[in-house]
Amino acid sequence: MARNGAVTWWRRTEKIDGFDLSPTDTEAVHVLAVDDSYVDRKVIERLLRISSCKVTAVDSGRRALQFLGLDEEKKSNGFDGLKVDLIITDYCMPGMTGYELLKKIKESSAFREIPVVIMSSENVLARIDRCLEEGAEDFIVKPVKLSDVKRIKECMNREFRVGEGERERERGRGGINKRKLRESCELSSSSSSSPSSQSPSPSPSILSASAPCSPSSLDSPTRRLKMTISE
């Protein structure tokens, strides 16, 4: 059997947690986390596991594509049974950036349905816009907190309920309407009229004004940007 980085990571994950990554276990969300920083990978892994997700963490966009079986040079090792429900990736990575990875995923007929979330330490509006327009589900400003992961998970569940059909129409019209879908997702999370079985807690950092564009915004009170209707 070919051994590449993706296989090693998968095996490590399996060994450490004893997770049975059988495809029949459809309950838990399986997240593919991509980050070149060892520290950040460890943190995001823990955040996801504690949120009842299964995690496969890789250190590059290339490895992520290999894992999905999208890499031209290295074909899938037979992981087709391993469904990925969400991809969460760092933006700034050597080689392939998170943005480039996002594009490749959205260009692929097999994987474009998978929601992709971008993480970045820089709260730059232009960057966020670019990612959302390319089809990213959400954009998290690092450092990632438990509330970020919970929010994404909740929203994912809700979007699946809203229906794939609606998402298809949204995609046809481009990025703007993805924001509207997300906004209504947030709104329903803060109202109590949602029929959802989730018990969402309204996020305290919803921002309706634009975020500062300065890259040195780690001191900004907004750790993540809520999508706004474009100005």
């Binding site: 920083s37 060892y38 520290v39 460890k42 955040l47 330490s121 450092p143 438990l146 040195s216």
Partner: protein
């Protein structure tokens, strides 16, 4: 029982002082909360990874800045950016803040400023390492006498 309470009190005081003195910020508290019986060494493990990262990156920066002529500021900046990222993820506030200043000097291609920051970041990293090792030792002592580690908000 008194020993346990004494140790727990020591832990809380020490933890609080780390916050007060800016060594760690809220993100560190977030990580503490992610630790449980399934992952009892999580914070120690992340901290170890962070310190390894620090050493590697500081060495990279030092090497790049050693060049008397034509320092590759882009390379220095790349390492500082990485260090800023991981220090932010672990809640190492003072280290992170030095990195922010460091990046400005990289951008300005100011070698002197960079060297000063390198000194500062090395200093802050070793301070933090000592502080966290003390904190982790306290944790071990509490666990050794059958106590539980207090959760400090």
């Amino acid at each position: 029982m008194d020993v346990v309470n004494q140790l727990r009190r020591q832990f809380v005081d020490y933890y609080t002082s780390l916050h007060r003195e800016g060594f760690v910020d809220d993100q560190f508290t977030q990580l503490q909360k992610l630790q449980d019986e399934n992952s009892p060494d999580f914070v120690v493990e992340v901290a170890s990874l962070f310190f390894e990262d620090c050493e590697k990156l500081i060495n990279n920066m030092a090497r790049a800045l050693e060049q008397q002529q034509r320092v590759d500021f882009k390379q220095v900046d790349a390492s500082v950016h990485q260090l800023k990222g991981s220090s932010s993820s672990i809640g190492a506030m003072r280290v992170k803040n030095v990195c922010i200043a460091f990046r400005s000097f990289c951008e300005a291609q100011n070698r002197e400023g960079c060297l000063r920051c390198l000194q500062q970041v090395t200093h802050e990293y070793s301070l933090l390492k000592n502080k966290l090792q003390t904190l982790f030792r306290l944790e071990q002592q509490i666990l050794a006498v059958g106590g539980s580690i207090p959760v400090v908000e």
